[in-house]
Subunit: 151 residues, 2 copies
């Protein structure tokens, strides 16, 4: 009885429609709560996302194109996002030796340190998710995979 009260709507076309609205609503709820936490560290969600991608590959460099492919929301102008991180000394950008079109992006020590701090915040954020058991979390994830038709 919840999404109904949250968006003050009692009728849905059908189960799938209710599910779709619920997905959008729940995700908006979830990512807003993350944005609030990140703002205290002067980061946006996409910036945080990029930093974690870079840490995942560290110390290997990552090209802008790779970043785009790995991002949650495939975005067009990732290079300006990298600019922002560069301005904060959280990443460094060097010309890729094999391909002079491309650019190698690497997270800096400062970036790693910031992410280290944010891990605690992230733990805190993830606590919210524990209304679901581990089993339920897996179940939800599997349903999402199936929804996208990739099972």
């Amino acid at each position: 009885m919840s999404i109904e009260t949250d968006i003050k709507q009692t009728k849905f076309r059908n189960a799938h429609h209710r599910m779709a609205l619920n997905l959008i609503y729940t995700t908006s709820w979830l990512s807003n709560s993350q944005s609030v936490l990140l703002k205290a560290h002067d980061l946006t969600s996409p910036q945080y996302n990029v930093l974690r991608i870079l840490r995942g590959q560290h110390p290997k460099p990552v090209q802008v194109n790779d970043i785009i492919e790995r991002m949650m929301d495939k975005m067009s102008n990732a290079s300006r996002l990298v600019d922002k991180l560069l301005a904060k000394d959280l990443v460094k950008r060097t010309e890729c030796p094999h391909d002079r079109r491309a650019v190698d992006v690497i997270i800096t020590e400062k970036g790693l340190a910031l992410l280290g701090e944010l891990d605690k915040m992230q733990d805190c954020w993830e606590e919210q998710l524990h209304h679901l058991s581990e089993q339920e979390a897996n179940q939800l994830s599997n349903l999402l995979d199936k929804l996208r038709g990739s099972v």
Copy 2:
């Protein structure tokens, strides 16, 4: 095995983390596909959302504040959103008789006609959701409610 390949990430901190990323990724996938369809009719998702809220109450007027409360992503500047719809003659805006601070917003015939067309598009969009059975859709929706702690 899917979110892993879609965002090229094989390791997650834990089941809940994987679920959270999957939620964000799947919802982004879902709403992007809707945006693409809407753009052909020169509407954004929030605008479409507002129009449907107005249709839901039609012919009763809806105040801007009500719109905000009913929206998926609670947004600060709903009045400029109404402006946009007004400019396209999809809604009309009149001063609320009982409360001169408030504004009554009503969907126009043109707005209703547009939504009528878009219903077909929406059906089409919802077809995507049928990788899940009705039962699975309900299951997913219930898990989302539970995730938000509102069960």
